[in-house]
């Protein structure tokens, strides 16, 4: 046997034809190893397409559901944030009112009597400076005269 008569196919790397096929029986057609994909029937292929379509549709549905749930979650979260913010605002307003009230209130200690050791003069009266400043000067004039007279002093 001469080397030059040997078909060139002998030297072709076998790995080229045998690589990456899934045919377990090594069935060949015209010298080529048939891969497993050839054996898949049209019916099966169609089924697979349908499955893939279904998967795609299901995926879309799932995606839409996820999107919808994210939107609703966002709404819920933003709604809760709004309620938290409004609660904070109400708290702040309340604290401001309390602070103003305490600033204008006065704690008076009475050392003469043990029954009422202290009393708190509440700010919600017409005689706090803050409220008096809002009144008309003529009103304040009348008020001043009345208060001086109530001290038993006749104004000169």
């Amino acid at each position: 046997m001469q080397i030059n008569k040997i078909s060139q196919k002998v030297f072709t790397p076998r790995a080229k034809t045998t690589q990456n096929h899934t045919n377990p029986f090594g069935v060949s057609f015209k010298g080529n190893i048939i891969t497993a994909d050839v054996f898949e029937s049209a019916k099966k292929v169609g089924l697979r397409e349908k499955i893939s379509e279904k998967i795609t549709q299901k995926g879309r549905l799932a995606f839409n559901t996820v999107l919808g749930s994210i939107n609703s979650l966002n709404q819920k979260i933003s709604g809760r944030f709004d309620s938290v913010i409004s609660f904070g605002r109400r708290m702040r307003e309340g604290m401001r009112n309390v602070t103003e009230f305490l600033n204008e209130s006065k704690l008076v200690f009475n050392f003469d009597s043990s029954e009422r050791f202290f009393r708190m003069d509440l700010a919600n009266n017409n005689y706090s400076v803050k409220n008096l400043v809002k009144r008309d000067v003529t009103d304040l004039r009348t008020e001043m005269i009345n208060l001086i007279e109530s001290r038993g002093i006749i104004n000169g």
Binding site: K106, D121, N125, Y127, S128, V129, L132, V133, R135, D136, V137, L140, R141, E143, M144, I145, L147, I148, S150, R151, I153, I154, N155, G156
Partner: protein, 120 residues
């Protein structure tokens, strides 16, 4: 709140009132009051207002503010003037009184208080 506190608040409110006619009310009723405590509160309110009208009352008027016959009221008013953060207006009115006032005692008082304010 008793009447004394109410009165103190009314006088305080008049000193802080936006309406300039509050000065006239304080002068008419407060500085003419027979009670020295009311006059003292009124003088303090007029000093704290720190306007030309209010300072003129307690500096240039005879028997009022620094010229009050009650030394407690007069000294209290001088103390309040010394305690002012911005004394420029007070010094200006004191100088005017020192130059232009016809009543000698008022002039003398203005000169003395001006010297005190300049030193403080």
């Amino acid at each position: 709140m008793d009447n004394n506190e109410k009165l103190a608040n009314v006088i305080d409110a008049l000193s802080k009132h936006e309406d300039n006619s509050a000065v006239a009310v304080l002068e008419e009723i407060g500085t003419n009051c027979a009670d020295s405590e009311v006059r003292m509160l009124t003088a303090k309110a007029l000093v704290e207002r720190n306007s030309k009208d209010s300072l003129s009352v307690i500096i240039s008027r005879d028997g009022k503010g620094i010229n009050d016959l009650d030394t407690t009221v007069a000294m209290g008013t001088i103390n309040n003037l010394i305690a002012l953060e911005n004394k420029d207006l007070a010094l200006e009115i004191l100088s005017e009184t020192e130059k232009n006032c016809e009543i000698e005692s008022v002039k003398d008082n203005a000169r003395s208080v001006k010297a005190l304010l300049e030193l403080s």
